[in-house]
């Protein structure tokens, strides 16, 4: 990694993530478009999504005006100088905002002041993960505010839902939370789920699932089975694209698990909108390559 080059490499990562939708998501939207009935608002909405994605890619325009809260993951050779990297990251975010790849989305909750650069206490979620490799891997997610508002967490057991502390209880909790979201998180979304952990760790795990490709297979066979079942049944809810009613309610379901405390059993849902913006950058030597 070359600190002199890192800033421009990070700006390119942000540009790609904000303006180019990953190919697996585009494919899932195309499949959904084919599935919806001709002449319905659902089909019209999916057509608008596909057209807009194309315009964004061609013109380097943000896919959504809400370029989200920014989540970064840095995997780096153990022993690197991370304080310097943090400074370079903040500078890259401010410059990407000036270039209109990002909307200024950082607001003081009390005064309402927006510094206009996406920075400030807690504005960036950055995960540092040292590893035993010589290369760097940087991943980012643009997590929209609308789909963050419909993200939720349930503590099991739940009496009304008759949901216990087992896989069946997790199934019921996810069904209920996605039903509650309706179209407000920009359906068809991706249901990213974390089972277990503390409240904060469980939700962070759910957000980690956003990075998984739609066609990957969960290495845990029980979770893989639950992902399939939920994908099938969530799409029976008929909420449809943008909540207009229709066949495509979710594009995918991704589930991870953490150890839990004996007294707790959380099911965390990080609902990700159809504009599932994510990008991965690998730095080898001083050269960066990108993959979505």
């Amino acid at each position: 990694m070359d600190p002199a080059k890192l800033e421009s490499q990070l700006i390119e990562l942000i540009r790609r993530s904000s303006t180019i939708l990953p190919p697996d998501i585009v494919k899932a939207l195309e499949d959904g478009y084919k599935r919806e009935k001709a002449g319905t608002p659902a089909k019209g909405a999916m057509k608008a999504m596909l057209n807009s994605i194309k315009l964004s890619r061609e013109g380097s325009l943000p896919i959504c005006q809400d370029t989200g809260s920014l989540i970064f993951y840095f995997y780096y050779p153990d022993g690197e100088k991370i304080l310097l990297v943090r400074k370079i990251l903040e500078s890259a975010v401010a410059k990407a905002t000036d270039l209109n790849y990002l909307r200024p989305n950082s607001v003081d909750p009390i005064s309402g002041f927006n510094p206009g650069n996406n920075l400030g206490p807690g504005a960036l979620a950055v995960h540092y993960r040292p590893w035993n490799k010589k290369t760097w891997l940087v991943q980012m997610i643009n997590k929209g505010g609308g789909c963050e508002n419909v993200s939720a967490q349930m503590a099991l057991p739940d009496t009304n839902l008759v949901a216990g502390r087992d896989l069946d209880g997790v199934y019921k909790a996810v069904m209920k939370m996605v039903y509650n979201a309706q179209g407000r998180g920009c359906a068809p979304g991706i249901a990213c789920v974390g089972i277990g952990g503390t409240r904060d760790m469980g939700m962070a795990l759910a957000k980690d699932q956003i990075l998984r490709k739609l066609d990957d297979v969960n290495p845990d066979p029980e979770l893989a089975k639950l992902e399939k079942k939920l994908y099938r049944d969530l799409n029976k809810l008929t909420i449809g694209p943008m909540g207009y009613g229709g066949k495509t309610t979710v594009l995918g379901v991704k589930i991870g698990k953490y150890q839990r405390h004996p007294a707790t059993f959380y099911v965390s849902l990080a609902y990700m909108c159809w504009a599932d913006r994510r990008c991965t950058m690998t730095i080898s030597g001083n050269k960066a390559s990108y993959e979505q």
Partner: protein, 194 residues
């Protein structure tokens, strides 16, 4: 066949719309989201009355840029409307707006105000921000820019901006129907109370 509506419009025109109608909007719309709604209800600034009468507001915080001193839209899709539910009935009543464009639908209070005063809720595609920007011809004015670019009132001239009526002035809401039907399916599949 889509119905064309020129803004500002009147009560009679709006009353003729029903849920499911496709509408093309022409003329001036005004963006208003969270801080704007709070301002409209708590401060009721005088300069907003002539701007809003007979028009339709857009729940949107656009990305904008300045080119040679003039503001231009970069992209501008809708934001979630439900956050304005505590304010919208008061805004409809006070300023005489004829509706709001957004995504996700709104609740009972807004639906009731649409019925009482003659207004509609118009839905557009969340996330299709580059596509929607193509229906925007120019930014005519901006007010309360000190609230930040996402929160300011942007006065935008639109041409054939396509939207769908999902809440009409006769008490009908597509969002209520979808919610009710999906709830029944959810309870059937989970055998629990959703």
């Amino acid at each position: 066949m889509a119905i064309t509506i020129n803004l500002p419009t009147d009560e009679q025109t709006i009353r003729s719309l029903k849920i499911g109608d496709e509408v093309l909007l022409n003329g001036l719309i005004v963006t208003a989201r969270d801080a704007a709604h709070k301002l409209m209800v708590t401060k009721k600034p005088k300069d907003l009355f002539p701007l809003l009468k007979g028009t339709i507001i857009y729940h949107c915080g656009p990305i904008v840029k300045q080119v040679n001193g003039k503001w231009e839209i970069v992209v501008a899709g809708p934001t979630t409307s439900m956050r304005e539910e505590p304010y919208e009935d008061e805004v409809i009543k006070t300023y005489g707006i004829r509706g709001a464009i957004g995504k996700g639908g709104m609740g009972k209070r807004t639906l009731e105000a649409c019925k009482t005063y003659g207004a509609v809720y118009l839905h557009t595609t969340g996330g299709a921000a580059a596509q929607i920007a193509q229906y925007m011809e120019e930014i005519v004015d901006v007010k309360y820019l000190e609230m930040g670019t996402p929160e300011a009132f942007w006065v935008i001239r639109v041409k054939d901006f396509p939207v769908i009526v999902t809440m009409d002035s006769h008490g009908n809401s597509l969002h209520e129907t979808v919610d009710r039907e999906s709830k029944a399916i959810c309870e059937q599949l989970t055998k629990g109370k959703c």
